[in-house]
Amino acid sequence: MSRLILLAGADTTSVGTLAAATVTALADEGFTAALVNGSEASPADPATTDLLVNSIGRVFAALGADSLPPEAWAAVPGLGHLSALLLVDELAQDSDVVVVDAGSLAQAQQLVELPAVLERLLDAALSPSLAMWRTSEGEDVAFDALAEARRTVSRLGRLLLRRDTTIRLVVPPTAAGAEAMEQGLSAFSTLGVGVEGVILHRYPRKGESWPADVRHAARRALATVREAAGAVAVWKSSAEGRPAPKGRSAAGPFGHVQVLDHEDLGVRIDDESLALDLPLAPLARRTARVGVTGEQLVVAVGAVHRWIELPAVLRRCRPLAGVRTADGVRLEFEPDPGLWMGGGEQHG
């Protein structure tokens, strides 16, 4: 199974430089490596546009909307990201490593979050009503096409949440870069993609004539990043781009990758209550909001939302409160008498 490495950062030019350097280094090491432009600027390919036209477009047509040329659908936000993910999925079949230039941190968050967002929207759309809905000629409106799209985005989501998929953050050696790194670490680990490395790009080298205050700022940023990164690998890169720490393979992975993994969530039982520990990065630990809807847990960090199936034992419980711990947030639940006795379906 191929490795998937995403690069994202505060400066998209630096990310592009490091992504290209990573692919070159991998090729030099003998890996079959592919580079995908996953930034917002990448256009949607015709196959992705067809996917949209044949699913959502058919629903629109059945509602009486006029036809639109495929080019109009190609401009739909997020379609470029979907196109990039489909390409990654295809290249992953034949490559040892697929490197994705995911652009800015915000773009990369949208890219990583897209499959889960589409999965939820398609789940809501795939209702019995749509299954029964027929055109005036008696044809299925779009159920089969939407079900196929659901399978596709589900596969893309699994691709991103594999343990072989990691992300490397590229930030400048400044206070702003350290802040961006902390935000990125918080967002991506919450979304379930592990940050394996932080690259301080354009770090002043000894032989170069940088002003003293720039050097001091870079050293302070390095100390801040190392402290916030915990066990995540941090390394310095010159302007040419160093894709891996000294003496390491560009394929990685490096350091300890901590993510919010729904498969690792365990429930502890204390007397009358049940506790669920959510591992979160330091910034997410301080700012996360956590909620319950139906049988799902929602973890919101800034604009990022992670939806996780509640462990089965907690689906008939009601949340009481949460407490911040050294590693994340601990949530307490208690059995909901109404749901246990009445067999209800939703949490209050």
């Binding site: 629903v59 059945a62 509602l63 009486g64 809501a124 209702s127 019995p128 009503s129 749509l130 299954a131 029964m132 809905w133 630990r285 301080r286 996360a288 909001r289 956590v290 909620g291 319950v292 809807t293 139906g294 929602v298 949340p319 009481l320 409160a321 949460g322 407490v323 911040r324 711990t325 050294a326 947030v329 601990r330 949530l331 939703q346 949490h347 209050g348």
Partner: protein
């Protein structure tokens, strides 16, 4: 038939209209000779009374049967249902069907209060 409310234009004195209108349907008025009305002064009280009768008729003949129509699409013969279909347009497609047809209401998120623990 005899107890049913009559349209305002029906005088009730002409027995020659038996069978002109069906059940719940108004009969056709007999047209008078041109110029017949010239000599008749406008009786506003009678007109108001007629309007009231027409409202009563509309209520009993149109609105009352429609009150039992749950799905407008199943009653194309009903004037009100046809109006609703015309005005409602796309709202009658299955996507906007009720919960009984498979749609689930969105469950709001219950946010959990989080406090700082000893290590927080």
């Amino acid at each position: 038939m005899a107890d049913e409310p009559r349209p305002w234009w029906y005088s009730g004195e002409d027995s020659g209209d038996q069978g002109v209108g069906g059940e719940g349907e108004p009969g056709q008025p007999e047209l008078g000779e041109p110029g017949d009305d010239d000599a008749v002064p406008i009786d506003w009280t009678a007109m108001l009374s007629g309007a009231m009768r027409m409202m009563d008729w509309a209520t009993s003949a149109v609105m009352a049967p429609h009150a039992e129509h749950e799905d407008p699409a199943e009653h194309p013969q009903c004037v009100v249902c046809r109006g609703i279909l015309l005005m409602g347009g796309q709202r009658t497609v299955p996507a906007a069907a009720s919960d009984e047809n498979g749609r689930r209401a969105a469950t709001p998120i219950t946010w959990i209060p989080i406090s700082d623990g000893p290590a927080g």
